[in-house]
């Protein structure tokens, strides 16, 4: 058995055709036949030597080593261009983005890793992006935000070395500036006015946005929870009232 299978690196011949569910078929099994006691023992011992031949074959050929020495091979290490490691904003040649703050990605994000805030005082248009915060610490790299974005603002890139010493730094602000979208900016003739409409953003500054948001939401949440609890109490009370049998039934029982 072992000789045949080693000589011919071919797929084992298919057994018979599959015949619907329930029909059984058995293929060739590379089983060591132990019927002849002595022959079986020798076959068994030979099988051990076959295995040893394989392992020593790899020992003798250092070219088969597949280990990569990571930090040393940084220059040659090439990750595929689709590798999803870090969410990034597509900025065009002028450094403008196309995010209109439609918040589709924010809603599509399964774990609230995207937090979008608008500028309180938009410079030019009605709605302007203030910060597009992406939390690497909660992101699952599912790519949903990228495929649902109607304007192609987002992309994943392969910058995978994202460790930092403070986890608050894992909330990135993706947009380079707070301000209007590319099409609006391009209509502004005056370069100074353009510059005035754009306010630079720190890429690592996302945690400030999140902290402000948390403070705002806390109060809202407390109120909501109280309302929910009240509703639940009301429901239980209604149920109890319904469960208590009417007085005449009680008398009859």
């Amino acid at each position: 058995m072992s000789d045949e299978s080693i000589a011919v690196p071919e797929l084992s011949p298919p057994p018979e055709k599959h015949v619907g569910t329930g029909g059984a078929l058995a293929g060739p099994v590379p089983w060591i036949d132990k019927s002849g006691a002595v022959g079986g023992v020798f076959k068994g011992i030979r099988s051990l030597f076959t295995g040893m031949k394989i392992t020593v074959g790899y020992l003798m050929r250092p070219s088969t080593v597949v280990t990569q020495q990571y930090p040393e091979n940084r220059e040659t290490l090439k990750l595929p261009d689709r590798f999803r490691a870090q969410l990034a904003f597509n900025h065009d040649a002028n450094g403008y983005h196309k995010c209109t703050m439609c918040r589709i990605c924010e809603e599509a994000c399964p774990n609230v890793s995207i937090i979008i805030t608008g500028r309180e005082k938009p410079a030019v248009s009605k709605k302007e992006l203030d910060s597009f915060v992406w939390r690497l610490d909660s992101c699952t790299f599912c790519n949903t935000c990228v495929i649902v974005c109607p304007f192609g603002v987002l992309r994943f890139d392969g910058t995978f070395e994202s460790s930092v010493y403070d986890r608050r730094l894992l909330a990135y602000t993706l947009n380079e500036y707070a301000g209007p979208v590319a099409s609006v900016l391009e209509k502004i003739e005056d370069p100074d006015a353009r510059k005035a409409a754009m306010e630079p953003r720190d890429p690592y500054g996302g945690h400030a946005v999140i902290e402000a948001l948390i403070v705002k939401q806390k109060a809202k949440k407390v109120a909501e929870k109280a309302a929910r609890e009240a509703a639940r109490v009301a429901r239980v009370a209604a149920k109890l009232a319904a469960a208590v049998p009417p007085p005449e039934a009680e008398n009859a029982g």
Partner: protein
């Protein structure tokens, strides 16, 4: 009320039922949650008599994350990426299971190209999963080297996925309505190169492990499961097929392009560990056959027929569809009330049902056998606990 709710403590504090003429004392021992061969955080409480296993009480839930509850709080597209984390070695099949039920319920159309890509990547992932299993199986039986060989070759499939999908493990690739990316321009070339690399390696695997006399001695007749018991215990996938039941949803209810390809369903005879081993090894070869038939014939077409919407509406009702992952039947039950998020979503995971067989298999075996059986079931713990 006649129902009595028990606890684990009560369950494992039974009296000793030693029947040996030498008055031996039975004892309980915890295998896991941290144990090298429980493949994660599975805990088995064993009642042992010396080396002999008298009873196995699996204790689950160490990695229960409430995926079903989380699913109720998101929309359908968001649920797809959660199931990546159930059976992480068949992430694509898990994606596909959810996609399939959502597409069926919401009547979304796909084209041949999408289905071909899905079939291809799922079969690649089946090989990948079986390669990892092969390596781990060797390691559980005490041979370290197969683990590295298996992982080395699996890495190549991961690299192919990385190129096309951008992720190696949790991919979220198969989406309701299509696939997230078109295949990479080098995909076809890479897959062909990989297949021609893998075939001689399979011969090597056979020489190293399959034909090894120690392996055969250790697996033969261990953990027998008859066909009728396997079905009754809810086993599916290679575990069921090793018992001699040719139940493979790829054949009996073809999805994707499985109806167009020619492949066989390997079936065992005895349902012992050896058969389960052999069925999986043979499945790798059958998957290679499937891929070879499809790789040159990927039809042209779009990868999303319409721009994927963030939210999908599914008509009210119960929807269920299932498919065959590397470990068995994965079913997704979707209960919709017509809103954007599912009212209830339930996953019938193969490992959950397959693990249930261990109680019946392991009784009377030895600890070493138990490890072999557990490994031959090929469990992935997050898939059990969800």
């Amino acid at each position: 009320m006649s129902v009595h709710v028990s606890t684990l403590q009560a369950r494992i504090s039974g009296e000793s039922t030693a029947s040996s003429p030498l008055s031996t004392e039975e004892y309980f021992v915890n295998m896991g949650p941290q144990h090298p061969s429980t493949h994660g955080v599975l805990r088995l409480v064993l009642r042992l008599d010396g080396e002999t296993v008298r009873e196995v009480v699996p204790v689950l839930g160490y990695i229960h994350r409430g995926i079903e509850k989380m699913g109720e709080h998101g929309n359908y597209r968001q649920f797809v990426h959660l199931v990546d984390r159930m059976d992480y070695l068949s992430a694509l099949a898990n994606n596909w299971a959810v996609t399939m039920v959502v597409e069926k319920a919401a009547k979304m159309e796909t084209n041949e190209r999408i289905e071909a890509i899905r079939t291809l990547v799922c079969e690649l992932q089946r090989i990948q999963s079986h390669l990892l299993w092969w390596g781990v199986f060797g390691m559980d039986l005490g041979g370290f080297t197969p683990f590295f060989y298996g992982l080395r070759d699996r890495e190549q499939i991961c690299d192919i996925f990385e190129k096309t999908i951008g992720a190696r493990l949790t991919m979220n690739y198969i989406q309701p309505g299509g696939v997230m990316f078109d295949i990479h321009p080098e995909f076809v070339k890479d897959v062909k190169a990989f297949l021609s690399y893998l075939k001689p390696k399979l011969v090597e695997y056979d020489a190293l492990l399959t034909e090894n006399v120690i392996i055969q001695e250790r697996l033969r007749g261990i953990g027998r499961l008859s066909a009728a018991r396997a079905i009754a215990l809810g086993a599916t996938g290679p575990v069921l097929r090793a018992s001699g039941v040719a139940h493979d949803l790829r054949k009996s209810e073809p999805y994707g392009l499985y109806a167009q390809v020619d492949f066989d369903v390997p079936v065992g005879t005895d349902g012992d560990c050896w058969d389960r081993y052999w069925v999986r090894m043979e499945e790798i070869r059958q998957s290679i056959r499937i891929i070879e038939q499809l790789i040159d014939n990927i039809p042209e077409g779009k990868t999303f027929l319409v721009k994927p919407a963030a939210k999908i509406k599914v008509p009210a009702g119960i929807h269920y569809s299932h498919l065959e992952t590397a470990r068995g039947v994965l079913g997704v039950l979707l209960v919709s009330n017509g809103k954007e998020s599912p009212y209830r979503i339930h996953c019938r995971t193969p490992n959950f049902n397959n693990l249930w067989c261990i109680g019946e298999m392991a009784t009377g075996g030895r600890i070493g056998d138990l490890v072999a059986m557990l490994s031959s079931i090929d469990i992935v713990v997050p898939d059990i606990d969800r």
